[in-house]
């Protein structure tokens, strides 16, 4: 492109402080250029922490880290900020491939914990070792697969658990290279033990993804659809944010697969745009930055069936932490979301 700036283009690779600074800078520029002469800027405050969108419930608090110890009443988690001790109540639940008693969790497991509403030290739900792989099957051998999740991510190894093989085969009958897959399971080192199908396999191959229907439209920058989640690709990746499948193709986003077109009905945005995401099932709202190109979200034109059928396919691929903070249950793969471009 003529006169196009060089430099970091995208997306998860540029996460962390650099991405946050770029988001803030772009917000400031945008606000300045649209401010009324003599008026105040309407740029939203970029403080860390409180992040409730207008007209919705506050997001849930979460704790993420490595489980150090667990007893029937207390669990201890090592987080980036130090050790956290959380109380367990009879209503606390845990997931480890299936719903389990909290005491079945094992030390050294990575956990994501959603805290009870209004309580800072009480665990409401715990997910241990949960992982997800979505993308194109690049190699398959019996019950082992290699899945390509995009140009900036490593290929993911998936092992189909024998106990879940029938269930997965019903929803993903074609496991040959070139077909699409989206599964949830337990992280076992670098591999994922697939246990739950996150959707049904599309009839088309990854190389034949179309732009989708152009009928569903946006209204004043607001659109509804399916919000899914993904695991952070690298340790330094921003823990909160959303990969958006219609990042402007001219941005040269490194994560985007050029052969897969942007969804027809979503407005073009940039990395750093802000989205107000509302979970239609819980009413929770959070304002999140676009941190990536949603390369895998472009591949699937599926609808979410959590609390009703979503009017269109995937509109945001949230990080695991944002998904949980918005009240989503990762083992259910998605929730119905209403997304507003902010501001």
């Amino acid at each position: 492109m003529q006169g196009r700036p060089a430099g970091p283009l995208c997306c998860g690779r540029c996460a962390g402080a650099q991405a946050a600074a770029r988001v803030g800078r772009r917000q400031r520029f945008r606000a300045a250029v649209f401010a009324k002469p003599g008026g105040n800027l309407s740029v939203p405050h970029t403080t860390v922490g409180a992040d409730r969108g207008a007209g919705g419930a506050a997001p849930f608090r979460t704790v993420t880290g490595t489980l150090l110890d667990i007893s029937p009443h207390i669990l201890v988690v090592a987080t980036d900020a130090g050790e956290r001790r959380l109380a367990l109540t009879p209503r606390s639940t845990a997931w480890r491939g299936r719903p389990v008693a909290a005491t079945e969790l094992r030390p050294e497991e990575p956990v994501v914990i959603r805290l009870a509403p209004g309580r800072r030290d009480v665990a409401d739900k715990i997910w241990a070792s949960i992982g997800r792989v979505a993308g194109t099957i690049s190699a398959s051998d019996d019950s082992q697969l290699l899945v390509d999740e995009g140009t900036t991510r490593k290929r993911q190894a998936v092992v189909i658990a024998p106990a879940a093989a029938n269930r997965l085969r019903v929803r993903f009958p074609q496991l040959e290279p070139g077909n699409l897959i989206d599964v949830i399971g337990l992280r076992r080192g670098a591999a994922l033990e697939a246990l739950i199908p996150a959707t049904s396999q599309p009839a088309y191959l990854a190389s034949r993804v179309t732009r989708g229907s152009t009928v569903a439209r946006t209204a004043a920058g607001t659109f509804s659809g399916s919000a899914t989640w993904h695991e952070p690709g690298e340790p330094g990746e921003e823990p909160r944010g959303a990969a958006y499948p219609a990042v402007d193709p001219a941005a040269g986003c490194a994560e985007a697969m050029l052969t897969v077109p942007c969804p027809a009905e979503l407005p073009y945005l940039a990395v750093g745009s802000m989205l107000s995401v509302r979970n239609e099932c819980t009413g929770t709202v959070q304002v999140l930055p676009v941190t990536g190109c949603g390369a895998t979200a472009r591949l699937f034109h599926d609808r979410c069936l959590t609390c009703g059928t979503s009017p269109r396919g995937r509109v945001a691929d949230l990080t695991l932490l944002s998904f949980v903070e918005l009240g989503g249950d990762p083992e259910r793969a998605c929730f119905n979301a209403r997304v507003t471009v902010w501001p």
Partner: protein, 310 residues
């Protein structure tokens, strides 16, 4: 001619049009995508190896029945009319069952009955439509040979019945709403693909560039991105007070896009309230319209109690 006989006769053109229309809609989608895989909606209920042949069989059946109904409506092949019409009734009965199955087992899929117009999951209306068309096919078995009515009240009766039945089918078809929406649809600017060099060309021709271009210290923008209906371009520069950033917003519009600009001091950002005074300019089209990208502007009322997650 009795009203009953007129009703029985008018099912023939209705059924033929629906069947041929459904086949044409599917074929046009296949031709556009150059793959049968895009119309495997309802046939996703079948095992994978049967999906493609099942889709082709559905298309072929629709074409055969639609053409068959028309061909046997006259005197030439009228002996086959009963068989074709009963076959049509059976086809719509199977469609009714498939629709119910689809709602039960794959509620995320559209039926694909009329190509990509049927992208939404089928509702009760779609099931009722299949039932109505099946009943219409059964009713047509007693209609006999299709003849042109004499001009006058008989023709008006036939026409009235046909129009009423079309309206009834249309009322039961979610695809009609989608089709009308498409007919009146103009792609809004936020969905329009636009090459970024067009923004640069428009910027270099604008009054805002002539005004601030002398401050710019680099040929290419330091940052450039698109959000909704606007391209944003940031150039490093120098003004009397030191280093600054010159920000331009160029509207995504094929002709005479609006261009806005602002100059911001670079280092030690001032308090946000002071920023807008820093050389804010607007370069609207000569017709004075603010441009279709209006809603991309900050919404002050909603922004007050919100902070992003960063």
């Amino acid at each position: 001619m009795t009203i009953r006989h007129a009703i029985e006769q008018m099912q023939v053109p209705l059924l033929a049009l629906v069947l041929l229309g459904a086949c044409a809609a599917k074929l046009s989608r296949v031709l556009r995508a150059r793959s049968v895989l895009v119309v495997l909606d309802a046939t996703s209920l079948f095992p994978p190896r049967l999906r493609r042949p099942a889709t082709m069989a559905v298309c072929f059946t629709e074409l055969s029945l639609g053409a068959g109904i028309l061909a046997t409506s006259g005197r030439a092949w009228h002996g086959w009319a009963m068989g074709v019409r009963l076959g049509t009734a059976l086809f719509f009965l199977i469609a009714l069952c498939a629709m119910a199955e689809l709602r039960e087992f794959r509620p995320d899929l559209g039926c694909g009955c009329f190509g990509d117009l049927s992208g939404r999951p089928p509702g009760v209306r779609s099931v009722l439509r299949a039932g109505l068309l099946g009943a219409a096919a059964l009713a047509s078995t007693g209609g006999g040979e299709l003849t042109l009515p004499p001009a006058g009240p008989a023709a008006a009766l036939d026409l009235g019945i046909l129009v009423a039945e079309f309206l009834l089918v249309a009322a039961l078809s979610p695809e009609v709403g989608e089709m009308l929406a498409r007919l009146g649809y103009a792609e809004p600017c936020e969905l329009r693909a636009a090459p970024p060099h067009r923004a640069l060309v428009a910027l270099h021709r604008s009054r805002a560039w002539r005004r601030h271009g002398r401050l710019v210290s680099r040929d290419s923008p330091a940052d450039m991105w698109r959000e909704l209906c606007w391209w944003y371009l940031v150039y490093p520069g120098r003004d009397g007070g030191g280093e600054c950033d010159i920000v331009f917003a160029v509207e995504v519009r094929p002709r005479r896009p609006a261009v806005r600009s602002a100059v911001l001091p670079r280092a030690d950002q001032p308090p946000q309230e002071d920023l807008p005074q820093a050389g804010l300019e607007e370069d609207l089209p000569e017709d004075g319209t603010p441009g279709e990208g209006g809603f991309a502007r900050p919404r002050t009322a909603a922004a007050e109690d919100v902070s992003p997650a960063f």
